[in-house]
Symmetry: D2
Amino acid sequence: MVDIVRLHHVELCVTDLERAKAFYRDLLGLFVTEETKEQVFLRAIEDHSHHCLVLTKADAPGVAHIAYRVAREEDLDALAETFSAQGLPMRWVAPGEERGQGRALRVQDPVGLPLEFFCVMDRAERMLQAFHLHRGARPQRIDHIHCFVSDLPRAYDWYTKTLGFRCSEVTVTPDDPPKLLAAWLFRKPNVHDVALTHRDGPRFHHVAFWVPDSKAILDFCDILGATGNASRIERYPGRHGLSNAFFLYLRDPDGIRVELYTGDYFTGDPDWEPIVWRSDDPRRATFWGVASPHSWFEDLVPVHHVVTGEPVAVQPKGEEGMWPWAAYAR
Amino acid sequence: MVDIVRLHHVELCVTDLERAKAFYRDLLGLFVTEETKEQVFLRAIEDHSHHCLVLTKADAPGVAHIAYRVAREEDLDALAETFSAQGLPMRWVAPGEERGQGRALRVQDPVGLPLEFFCVMDRAERMLQAFHLHRGARPQRIDHIHCFVSDLPRAYDWYTKTLGFRCSEVTVTPDDPPKLLAAWLFRKPNVHDVALTHRDGPRFHHVAFWVPDSKAILDFCDILGATGNASRIERYPGRHGLSNAFFLYLRDPDGIRVELYTGDYFTGDPDWEPIVWRSDDPRRATFWGVASPHSWFEDLVPVHHVVTGEPVAVQPKGEEGMWPWAAYAR
Amino acid sequence: MVDIVRLHHVELCVTDLERAKAFYRDLLGLFVTEETKEQVFLRAIEDHSHHCLVLTKADAPGVAHIAYRVAREEDLDALAETFSAQGLPMRWVAPGEERGQGRALRVQDPVGLPLEFFCVMDRAERMLQAFHLHRGARPQRIDHIHCFVSDLPRAYDWYTKTLGFRCSEVTVTPDDPPKLLAAWLFRKPNVHDVALTHRDGPRFHHVAFWVPDSKAILDFCDILGATGNASRIERYPGRHGLSNAFFLYLRDPDGIRVELYTGDYFTGDPDWEPIVWRSDDPRRATFWGVASPHSWFEDLVPVHHVVTGEPVAVQPKGEEGMWPWAAYAR
Amino acid sequence: MVDIVRLHHVELCVTDLERAKAFYRDLLGLFVTEETKEQVFLRAIEDHSHHCLVLTKADAPGVAHIAYRVAREEDLDALAETFSAQGLPMRWVAPGEERGQGRALRVQDPVGLPLEFFCVMDRAERMLQAFHLHRGARPQRIDHIHCFVSDLPRAYDWYTKTLGFRCSEVTVTPDDPPKLLAAWLFRKPNVHDVALTHRDGPRFHHVAFWVPDSKAILDFCDILGATGNASRIERYPGRHGLSNAFFLYLRDPDGIRVELYTGDYFTGDPDWEPIVWRSDDPRRATFWGVASPHSWFEDLVPVHHVVTGEPVAVQPKGEEGMWPWAAYAR
């Protein structure tokens, strides 16, 4: 089977490149590796690769692609063969077409998310021990993304069977038997590389960066307050019940949601069984019992088509699936 | 002038003594020094005195007295003379009438708060370096109280002129000239021993305990979630704009509000001038821009009369005072 | 190739079972899953499996076996075939022979370390969100071990080629070309599952547990001081240069070394290249420039033979290998 | 009696002003209020006054004066009268002679330390909530100094009786009855404004700055490592037994010792009794049992004469005093 290592980077469409750069570099604390008139390529503190985030000048906010890194160059060919057999829209990206990156394969997944797979990327200076240059939230690496999709049963089936993702935790309805509302899926052995919620989609909910500890998040809130950016905070620091991570949610200048995230757990043992949370458990979202703000459920940005580059039309959510169903064999 | 050292303890009226003890000792982490059928006397981690909190069995929640410690026994006589000349209701409390405490003077202050002044208290084992016994929020010492009073100009005048308090910070209206809405007053040289808000009063808003650092507060929230006590959290952890302290607000089983508080600053220099916050500044309450919940302004408990022991009738708030006025001579 | 997931547990030989249990459970904060007259099985806070540490009553301190978990039961058969072909001493362990564990394969590796491979283990209650029961150092999971071996070139070759380990960081001599002194090897994608130092061996240096953050380590030092256990600290808290983790080294009642460890980085990308530290770099061991105490290099415990159960004779260290050599193909 | 508020600032003699400024401003994180060709005036994060540290260009490292702030201008006249009666060398400093400062009185104390007393200082911008500008160790305010003196009984007597200092903790010999080796004395109600050790003196041991929490100290060590300044660390982070504070000791480019310090306790209650530590208690210096390095006891800098400006000759230490003696009336 192909070996997908982890979520590696995302390309965000932003309407004002300078403003976005000021947010992600000067405030959040990412490092710029390279920039052009149309794009800025940034990396996090422990990255040794060219970018974990691409900002691209655009007319409207959105997400152009979501990239996973594979272990071997030949995994790309195997994926191309599979996607072709599945009839998914796809295209090859030539080496260097995306700055700093080798050959890549882009595909629209069965629920409409614009994925990229690649293996090779240029090296960049690693800032992990340049502690005097750490700023803002001290983002160490990209951790995961969260998307809303209109057909979670189909997505769950495809990510687990075609791509080999495993499931760490799920949210289900209080029904008996329960129905699946959201799933946290991983390749690298922590809680997730991608979380998928069953709602109108495809839409992009947030990208999360790993930070060193909860103190980095508190310090960053102080910096946001001091610099007049408190209004960028959408959901205040807290402990997630689901994932056990400590978190903060922000909105960037285009309204794209960013999470700071730290302190989940190891999921790589062969007998890991998903933790099941009922949607009416008040400790699920925040272990301390805080409800998420309305905007957190409503404000998402479109994703683009990997071939046309156009925003993908949002579909109303379909039938919910039973949990556990056949796709999750235990 | 008399030398008042600091806010030293409060006596809370609780309707279920065992339940209250479970909250303050087992969950919050105070230590019980002594208990009777009707009362529990607790101290915090760094205390070397008998109690910083008294729980008294009662029919309804409330606050029986608020105690300040004076530097010298003779300060009590000087205070008695002053209060008598001012015609304030007062009475002497004999040594031992309050367990562990020497002679004390109780007085109803001009805005109706039940104060006590004393100098001598029995010593108790100090737990500061018994780190293996620190639990819950690791409360180190009592820091301050907050009350609503119906005549803040009168209270401000009395606390500063009669008792020698100084003012660290104030909240004012956006008017020109501004009017005073709340004042933070201190004897020990940090932000406050008592905060007073101009609203219907007298009513008791909260008692605050100093904790070692922000991490102690985050850890305590995790414990509250784990033990099914998340609903006791009323206002989530954050940084105060006013005072700069990191905080958490809880409600005890009787609904009495408790704050955990850490990290303000030194106020003892002779030229300290109050910091003035406009009430419409979103960073005043929480520096990160979070509004306080409705309950935080509405749910308070009565205070008792020092002579009759009955709850004191709440008066509608009077005229607001101008800021700065003559009482604050600069 | 076989798929080894991670270092999973170690079996320590201790001379006083009650004393050892008091150390690992009451002081360090592990949870006891099961115990017999001769053994105690413990797990860490986030573990969902029966044990990450086995304490076995013995006449002298030592390490009976070091266990790695594999992804599939059939990996064990493949390993048995390989080890047999390599002529390594090995034996099968029947299901339940080690409490809570399925079928396992034990082998003496080419440099004399007693390894175990297994796939299946009984489930146990996970304590990750029982925050009120977290104590001591709050150990979340086992992270890695460190051993001294007399032939590092041979060990490096075998772990990388036979078992599929990768290398995250190395220490080399200041010579030109440099010679390899120590290597950090991993299967799970952080800095290491096992570190190997080229010295007289085989000997066991330490087992490390992951803790939530640096504050957990500082708090634990306070607890050690408060309980009269300060002398158990061998190397004080600090930041490793190599691995970037925050650490503390302790000695258990038998003198066996335990590390508390947190905050390294992701190593799973396909193009990761080992970070090379010269042995004379003062920031290598502790980034703040502190030298390790003499005992840290000298006091190690024996490892046992997987077939005879006897301590393995220590060999003088052999020739150092060049770095990079053929075994590490770049 | 005169009302001394607290230790307020020190004047350090440095041999290279630019190098010293780089250390105290760029690395440690103090803010420059004003500078001349010969001097730099710095303040800490929460200061609202002109300076808490003066760096003065000189031929050799040393301490020119140690300043205490008084509550009222007239306290200076009372002090002058007392010092004159005691025959101590003294002189008046005119307003502005020390930049930003009003009238001041300098005196050589009975054990040779160069003290200054003043009341009025120019205001300066307070940086407490400019979190985005906090750097290095995030020093909030000056906390205390430590000096070696040749006649501790005489010093103890003078500081407590003439200046009204109180004693929080002491170190004594293991003798019976014990003899006093060092005393921690305070005016502001935490552990100390000044610590005095009975050794050859007068010599200046260190100046300490309060930092927000232990994390600020760990982060600063990382910055020291990253910027090639690890060798400036003399005594690694730890918990003091005596004072209970978390600490770090550094050496500035002239070898002058700086402590970072946080988290002691309130000492202002009228019945506070000094905590007595025997000098052979391994938890006294560091609660975790670490011994201080030799240099920490040996490397001190001279203090200057307030009238001549010359370094004061060091006297061999005299007889130790009994503890408790008449000077400490209980």
